[in-house]
């Protein structure tokens, strides 16, 4: 008897299937017409990225800021080139100093009486 009750309940509940109905014919068209006229909403993360790009694009495209951006860009390029040049110069100087140090040490050693340096150089 206890087993039968849930089965009977299930059978009774199946009556709700009768309530299934077809939607009215015009509903489909109405939905298409109204929905597709609406803008789609982008997810927040994508919106943030899009907003970031739009902001940057606007700033770069602003007529009164174009010269300023060009100047900044040029200044950046000059500073970069200068940086590379100074870096190279420093490397050359460091190499020359190392060579100079070695020569100095040899002379000092000879003065100290380390004659073996003479053979080595």
């Amino acid at each position: 008897m206890k087993q039968k009750t849930p089965d009977r309940d299930e059978a009774l509940m199946q009556a709700f299937r009768l309530l299934r109905e077809d939607p009215p014919d015009d509903l489909h068209d109405r939905i298409l017409r109204t929905a597709t006229a609406l803008p789609q909403r982008q997810p927040p993360a994508r919106l943030r990225t899009a907003a970031g790009w739009a902001w940057l694009h606007n700033r770069l495209a602003m007529p009164d800021l174009r010269m300023a951006w060009a100047f900044c860009f040029m200044a950046l390029v000059v500073a970069g080139a200068l940086g590379i040049y100074v870096g190279q110069m420093q490397a050359v100087q460091a190499a020359a100093m190392a060579q100079g140090d070695e020569a100095e040490m040899v002379v000092y050693s000879i003065m100290q009486g380390d004659v073996a340096w003479e053979d080595r150089i």
């Binding site: 009774l12 299934r20 929905a35 909403r41």
Partner: protein
């Protein structure tokens, strides 16, 4: 965008999957949306009708749900949930929103008998129309969450797992809702069952 030949094959074996359709809808493809609506509107409408009872309100809710599908399609992510589950969840949320709005409005129109529904059904089969009316009244007597559980599982024939996912509850919670609903409905359904053959003229 969904290619033309895929849409043309909508009645054939190469129907695009829901995932393909929703991805196309996310890119603003109206034809993919058309197909998606065709595929799911009946179930969405029936969920709405199960919850709000009035066919005009059910149409509004179904329309609102489908509009949200269009608007929020870009937010859908494959793997998070099936399109069907996502879509039905939207429909259920629309029903909740509608009922919440309705509860704030003064009572009156909600309690009117389903005249439009009765008129069309009376022409075809009065007894069946009467039975439907009583079934809807039974559904109406249930608390909101039990009603949606019954609508999803019996009217829409979803599995318990699917219905639980749509409602955003654990499967055990859904089963508990169904048990309570069955318990309250049993006496009424038994009357309906017994009266099947001979209560055709009852009002």
């Amino acid at each position: 965008m969904l290619s033309g030949q895929k849409i043309q094959g909508e009645s054939g074996a190469d129907d695009p999957s829901d995932d393909t359709l929703i991805t196309a809808v996310a890119q603003g493809d109206a034809r993919a949306f058309d197909l998606l609506v065709k595929r799911h509107l009946k179930r969405v409408y029936n969920i709405a009708y199960g919850m709000v009872y009035n066919p005009a309100d059910a149409q509004d809710v179904a329309q609102d749900a489908m509009m949200r599908v269009w608007m929020y399609a870009p937010s859908w992510r494959a793997g998070e949930s099936a399109v069907t589950t996502w879509l039905h969840r939207i429909a259920v949320n629309c029903c909740y929103d509608f009922l919440r709005k309705k509860s704030r409005q003064p009572q009156g129109s909600e309690m009117l008998p389903d005249i439009q529904d009765m008129r069309t059904d009376t022409e075809s089969d009065y007894a069946e129309a009467e039975k439907k009316k009583r079934l809807r009244a039974m559904l109406r007597s249930l608390p909101e969450r039990q009603r949606i559980a019954v609508t999803l599982c019996y009217l829409d024939e979803m599995s318990n797992a699917q219905a639980a996912s749509v409602m955003g509850v654990h499967i055990k919670a859904l089963e508990a809702l169904l048990v309570r609903a069955r318990k309250s409905l049993r006496p009424m359904l038994e009357t309906l069952d017994l009266g099947d053959g001979n209560d055709g003229g009852q009002g």
